[in-house]
Amino acid sequence: MNNILVTKEVTKHFGKHIALHNVSLEIPRNSIYGLLGPNGAGKTTLIRIVNQITHPDKGSVFFDGEKLKAEHIAQIGYLPEERGLYKSMKVGEQALYLAQLKGLSKAEAKKKLKFWFERLEIGDWWDKKIQELSKGMAQKIQFIVTVLHAPKLLIFDEPFSGFDPINANIIKDEILKLKEKGTSIIFSTHRMESVEELCEYIALIHKSQKILDGKLSEIKKAYKNNIYKIGMQVPKGEALLGELSGKFKISTSDYNIVEQQLDFTMQFPGKETGEILSYLSSKGNINSFVETIPSANEIFIKTVQSKNNNE
């Protein structure tokens, strides 16, 4: 039982449109899991199924080892992509109402809200109406409402949209703290670079299907292609470049004649880098040598392309 959430061959149709097709995921406990994919891939539908807003046509979902049921709602916190609050309701009343809907008692909710309001330094907002607050301020309240009932699983759909960088950082830190305390977190986003740094695990969803999932570091390892970025001081850069491109795959290159600086990206044929390195250092002075690790975005594009080619 190392997984907080498991989906097994979940399929969902809307009329003739297939929103999800046999999507199976395993989301490890106490991890940050990135659900990545372009707009319209089916991420939100999957999340809505986990939140029991919609129900799958086929397949099953297990939460904490049990088949998903109504009581699990209290164990899940969800920040939807389309989010807002009652405009004419006071902040405090609204937060209390939403917390009570999640099953907290009024006294409990009040105590926890006090704690969070002080923690995010918004204690004096209690009697304000949402329409008096800025968008970023309202987002803070939404964040509090999402995490207030201390759920086992938190689901954030495009969490950072609408936040200014400072508030986005505050929220990011809070999310990391929650993870340290044992909460499992799912991030759903189409901006893959934004959560790459946070996620240990990812799944890529494309056209209603899961095309890739696993530990991010392992996926990256599997997708790196011995491509290195090399920078060196060499008197006759162009000649060397010409010589190399006859034997190897060179993708980008730039030679500065004045400084005699050559930068290029090259794919090494095998695992043995030493031979080539010693050859290069005989030509000039190597000042940088970095293996390029593909970004989630690059992996995604590559996977989609190879999938399209296979079809």
Binding site: F14, R83, G84, Y86, K87, Y97, L98, Q100, L101
Partner: protein, 442 residues
Amino acid sequence: MNKLFLIIKREYIAKVRNKSFVVMTFLSPVLMVGMGVLIAYLTKINDNEKSIVALLNESDYFSNEFLTTEGTSFIHFNEINLETAKDSTLKMGYSGLLYIPKESNLEQVVARSFFYSKKSPNTSLISRLELVFQDRLREKRLQNLGVSAKDFSALKVNYAINTATFNGKQNVKGINEIKAVIGGAFGYLIMMFIIIYGGFVMRSVIEEKTSRIIEIIISSVKPFQLMLGKILGTSLAGITQFLIWILLGSLLMVIAFSFLDIELSALQNGAELTASINTTIPTMDQTMQVYAQELIDIPWFTLISFFIIYFLLGYLIYSSIYAAIGAAVDNETDTQQFIFPTILPLMLAIYVGFFSVFSNPHGPIAVGFSIFPLTSPIVMLMRLPSGIGEGGVPLWQLLTSILLLVVTFIGIVWLASKIYRVGILMYGKKPTYKEIFKWLKY
């Protein structure tokens, strides 16, 4: 259940705290009573205005037929010509000049008579003058035929057919209309309530959609719970508002009318009127008693019990349709295409119901509309004052109507909740009927 209660509470509080709701609650009775008082007051002023008519009578056929009444008085001109009379009338600012020329016979006199006035004349004044001429003409013609005025008034006939049910109970003419009006008032109340508070439910759904809080809420509660809570909370707020209207309205009415002394004088007039009628037509008293008895005999308890049943079912059906409309659209301007077909049965019920139940409470149209579920809450209530069973609504019709209403209620709420569930998560598209139909299959 606990969550449903929370939702009802929030909806109720949000509604009754809403500024425009509060203003409407307290302002409407004031406005209504104020309007009533104003109309009564203006009518009183209007009635008090006296018109003065100058009369130039050159003929021998009229002498003292033109009597000064409450609203009109006559100034007699003597021995001046028409032109001078016209000038004087204008100068004195009288309402007009009635000119009766000298001719050889009455028919000619009447044909040549004129009423001159600056503006187009007051209709009631004209008809009063016409009446004088008509009476004079009739008198003259009767004289020619050799009938005395006394004989003529003895000829006047006023007959009303006696009606009774087969078991001998006296039936009173016109009581059907009175009963239909009483039932109609209940039906009208239902329609008003549906249109006002159904609209509130719809706007409240749209508000949740446009403020984008909906998904946060339905990740905690079932959409159906939210819809139900919304409808119930809004209805409770509506009932509160209605009660305040009734209480405040009657209070203000009493205060206003006792203050302005309008009711008192109106009552006096009424009393005089009935007194005079009573002396002339002795049977009137009896008839009034029968009417009163009939009104007491209206099965009030049954009527009010069924009012509650029909009100609840009818309101729930319509407000869930309103909730579904609110869920399907993004803003209020898109609701028009859906609202009209929704209100149509209600309008039909009120108008067709009124006409058919008025003329024949148990005719085929009345029966049909009182069984058809979307109109039955209104039309059946119009028929019910005549009782259940013999002489009233047959029991099978009542039961069929309620059964159909319950079945429709379940069906409509089920359909509406499906549309609601899908619609609340759809943004940015103006839905068509075809699309909504597709949602039912999701």
